[in-house]
């Protein structure tokens, strides 16, 4: 029996507004709400909401046999809360069916897994809490931003108690090995690895309406016959993509929703089942994955150079994560929120010379200048709270003293009281 494991990703950044350097030290609001709202509304109306409705219908009509997973970044959830609360309700309803699973990821869709371990752990926990609050279930499978994976990151994730992690089919790591199996981390075998099937995923998300493609037009029947025709030992096909593939990248008028709707029927007919990531790791046997020493991702080059490959990106990332420790000492809510939003991978992707996917800037230089101006203001605010003239450790000690002051006073007062009562009783 073959299984398809669907997972759809939703992430949109809070777009930075045009922030010229005159704003540094004056203007502490960094976002272009109009653009952000406009973008998320368009996606919700054209893609997310119609797709959600269709999936709900598919689950109902297949008696829960159709299943799929979602990974929604914390920042995207915030945007839904602000600009499209109907999405939250829609996902809550899907969650109730039991056929939908929500995956864990970094709250800010950030590169923290590569640059800052502590921040990474904190963001993952924060995201898991948010998912549990909204949809009532703690995630057990982890998906990193942009499917970034290395054995080292896998280890951290396993230590946090996650049972499985998602990974891209990367030719220079996988070699001849098939993505259609369950793998496990070579140093930490408890952590299972699911691997995205590159071809079958991109067939839907990028090639579906490409008339020059030799397999055009793609029908659900044809698509499932490819899967049912696979070798016997290949049990699971991981079809993962950005959710906007439905209705946005592939337009509704090209029939992408009809394709989606037809899947359960043809799956049943050809003996293919749907499976959630958390089920897959329970039901399937795993084999050891080849070692992944350097971070891989699902960007075009399959490494993380789309975010940190050039000097601009490296300077921005270096300056951002240099203050991580100090920011974490702060209790200033707006500052902490900005800290998250500034970490979104998109900010760095826009600075790429070769692969600035989704950019709204006219050049990487413009993207960099704008980001750095914002960052300069942000760093000023951090500096104002905790001057760099004070060493991190010293600062820590001072803060501890301040935070413990109350306890200390209480303790001393009690001591005093005791002493007084002793005194009176002695009389």
């Amino acid at each position: 029996m073959k299984n398809i494991c669907f997972y759809f990703q939703i992430h949109q950044p809070f777009r930075l507004k045009h922030y010229p350097f005159f704003g540094i030290g004056q203007d502490h609001y960094y976002y272009d709400e109009f653009q952000t709202e406009d973008r998320i509304r368009e996606l919700v109306e054209k893609s997310y909401l119609p797709a959600n409705r269709i999936i709900a219908e598919m689950i109902r009509s297949s008696n829960g046999k159709f299943k799929c997973a979602f990974s929604i970044s914390g920042i995207a959830l915030e945007q839904f809360e602000f600009f499209a609360p109907e999405m939250i309700d829609s996902f809550k309803e899907l969650a109730k069916t039991g056929s939908v699973e929500f995956l864990a990821e970094t709250y800010a869709h950030s590169l923290a897994s590569v640059y800052d371990q502590d921040e990474f752990v904190e963001q993952v926990n924060r995201h898991a809490r948010k998912i549990e609050n909204l949809f009532g279930k703690k995630p057990t499978v982890f998906r990193n931003s942009e499917l970034i994976y290395s054995d080292e990151i896998g280890e951290t994730v396993a230590r946090m108690g996650y049972k499985a992690m998602l990974m891209e089919e990367v030719k220079y790591v996988m070699g001849w090995k098939s993505p259609n199996k369950l793998y496990h981390n070579p140093i930490y075998p408890k952590l299972k690895l699911l691997i995205r099937n590159n071809k079958l995923s991109d067939d839907i998300s990028f090639r579906f309406s490409d008339t020059s493609w030799s397999d055009y037009p793609l029908t659900a029947e044809k698509y499932l016959s490819w899967i049912s025709g696979m070798p016997d030992d290949e049990k699971i096909v991981n079809v993962w993509m950005g959710y906007e593939a439905f209705g946005f990248i592939q337009r509704a008028e090209n029939g992408i929703f009809e394709f989606l709707k037809a899947l359960p029927y043809h799956a049943l007919e050809q003996g293919v089942a749907f499976m959630l990531p958390s089920e897959a790791i329970k039901k399937l046997e795993s084999v050891e994955a080849p070692a992944t020493l350097y971070p891989t991702s699902w960007s075009g080059s399959k490494d993380i150079s789309a975010w940190n490959g050039n000097d601009l990106q490296q300077e921005a990332l270096k300056k951002l994560y240099a203050v991580s420790e100090r920011v974490k000492l702060s209790k200033d809510k707006p500052l902490l929120h900005d800290w998250l939003l500034l970490q979104s991978t998109d900010n760095f992707r826009y600075m790429s010379h070769s692969d600035a996917y989704g950019t709204h800037y006219s050049s990487p230089y413009e993207a960099f200048t704008n980001y750095m101006n914002v960052l300069a203001d942000f760093l000023d605010r951090v500096e104002a709270q905790y001057p760099t003239s004070v060493e991190n450790e010293e600062l820590n000690a001072l803060l501890k003293t301040i935070n413990n002051q109350e306890k200390e006073i209480q303790r001393l007062e009690e001591e005093l009281k005791k002493a007084r009562s002793q005194k009176t009783s002695a009389k």
Partner: protein, 418 residues
């Protein structure tokens, strides 16, 4: 393929960008093995590089028949042209040009500059073209800029060979809209007569189509390139305390100097370790000095005057930013020269070179905020400077005249029907 080119300037004696561009293109085209170029200029000085094209000086071509001995010709122009060639060219005189003032050899004394009687020189150039058209053997005629259109047109009329004209600028760029009707007439007549028109940018192409009413199919953009800088390594940026932002060019309305001053003012409101340089001269220089004083930034703003030769490249190399806020620039070679010595450039979208450059910062010429932001970014964030520096160098070193030459060749092939 034999080409007869008419130009007005040729290095080393140049007055503007036209000479540099004609030279670069000719040299780039000469790399094609079957290309044979004869380049006509009004007044050669004898020190022009003739290794890749034959140069004919119009002031040594007889247009009026005068009897002279071989020895006399030898003693008069032997230093630059063989007397036999003079006598052979003399056979090409088919019209009566005695109305034109000529010297003892029957030649016209061209200034080769932009004198008061420029229009007269342009029409005298036609007379020379008629002699050459009768006597030389060529497949295509190529005229560089409006000064040589009449000459090219006449040569076409005589020889029946196709005419290609090269628009390096139009009067709309030079006059910011207040067009001189005589110049416009010369330009328009030349364009109408041409079999094909080449422009140095899409910006100029649009002007040619819209303002001179040429059919779009007849107009092709061939972007300029830049000659490799042989001693690029000899220009080393000296470490200094303050960052240097430089404007270099004629201080005229066309170059938008006032926008540079305003942008400088905005930058200095926020940061102090920057100095601004406006090198060059022009009719707006005094206005600019006044504006600088009015903004109270004179202690940070410098006017070194007109620079030439090595000093130009050295000024560029010492700068942290080069800025060209031109209001209307058909191409604009100077940002490429700045990139050759590794200096990041900020250019206006209204410059033709913005169409081909990637590793520069582009803003609208009037957008002083964006300009200030870009200056601030380059002088403040090290990787911004580094990226533009390294990638700019790499980019500019790949912009070659030989590639432009191939495009021109394709046009030659088309008009000659090969």
């Amino acid at each position: 393929m034999k080409a007869l080119m008419f130009g007005w300037e040729f290095p080393p004696h140049i007055l503007g960008g036209l000479g540099t561009a004609s030279y670069g293109l000719t040299k780039g085209m000469a790399e094609q093995p079957d290309m044979d170029i004869t380049f006509v200029i009004p007044r050669p000085h004898g020190d022009e590089d003739q290794s890749f094209a034959k140069i004919i000086g119009a002031s040594f071509v007889p247009v009026v028949w005068k009897e002279n001995s071989w020895e006399h010709v030898e003693s008069r122009i032997g230093w630059i042209m063989h007397p036999d060639e003079y006598f052979w060219l003399r056979n090409g005189i088919k019209y009566d040009f005695r109305r034109i003032y000529t010297n003892d050899l029957g030649c016209i004394d061209f200034s080769g500059k932009y004198p008061e009687n420029l229009i007269e020189e342009i029409s005298n150039y036609e007379a020379v073209a008629s002699v050459l058209a009768h006597q030389l053997d060529f497949d295509v005629i190529h005229s560089h800029d409006w000064l040589t259109y009449p000459a090219g047109r006449f040569a076409k009329q005589i020889s029946g060979k196709p005419l290609v004209i090269h628009v390096h600028a139009t009067d709309f760029d030079r006059s910011r809209g207040k067009v001189n009707p005589t110049v416009y007439n010369i330009e328009k007549t030349g364009m109408d007569a041409a079999d094909h028109i080449m422009t140095v940018s899409n910006l100029t192409r649009r002007t040619v189509i819209e303002k001179y009413h040429q059919h779009p199919n007849k107009v092709t953009t061939v972007h300029n390139a830049v000659e490799p800088l042989k001693d690029a390594e000899s220009f080393v940026k000296k470490p200094r305390k303050d960052k240097l932002v430089t404007f270099l060019g004629r201080i005229t309305m066309q170059k938008g100097p006032e926008y540079f001053v305003e942008a400088a003012h905005r930058v200095l409101e926020k940061t102090k370790n920057v100095r601004f340089v406006m090198a060059g001269s022009g009719d707006m220089m005094n206005d600019m000095i006044e504006l600088v004083a009015k903004r109270g930034i004179a202690d940070r703003f410098h006017f070194p005057g007109f620079l030439r030769g090595r000093a130009v490249h050295d000024m560029l190399a010492q700068s942290d930013v080069y800025i060209m806020p031109s209001v209307s620039e058909p191409f604009g070679i100077s940002p490429l020269e700045a990139m050759q010595v590794g200096t990041p450039s900020i250019i206006s979208y209204q410059s033709g070179c913005a169409e081909i450059l990637t590793n520069v910062v582009k803003t609208d010429y009037w957008d002083i905020d964006a300009m200030a932001d870009a200056i601030y970014s380059i002088v403040t964030y090290p990787s911004m400077y580094k990226s533009l520096h390294e990638r700019g160098l790499e980019e500019v070193n790949n912009i070659k005249w030989s590639d432009a030459g191939l495009k021109v060749r394709a046009i030659y092939d088309k008009v000659t029907g090969r």
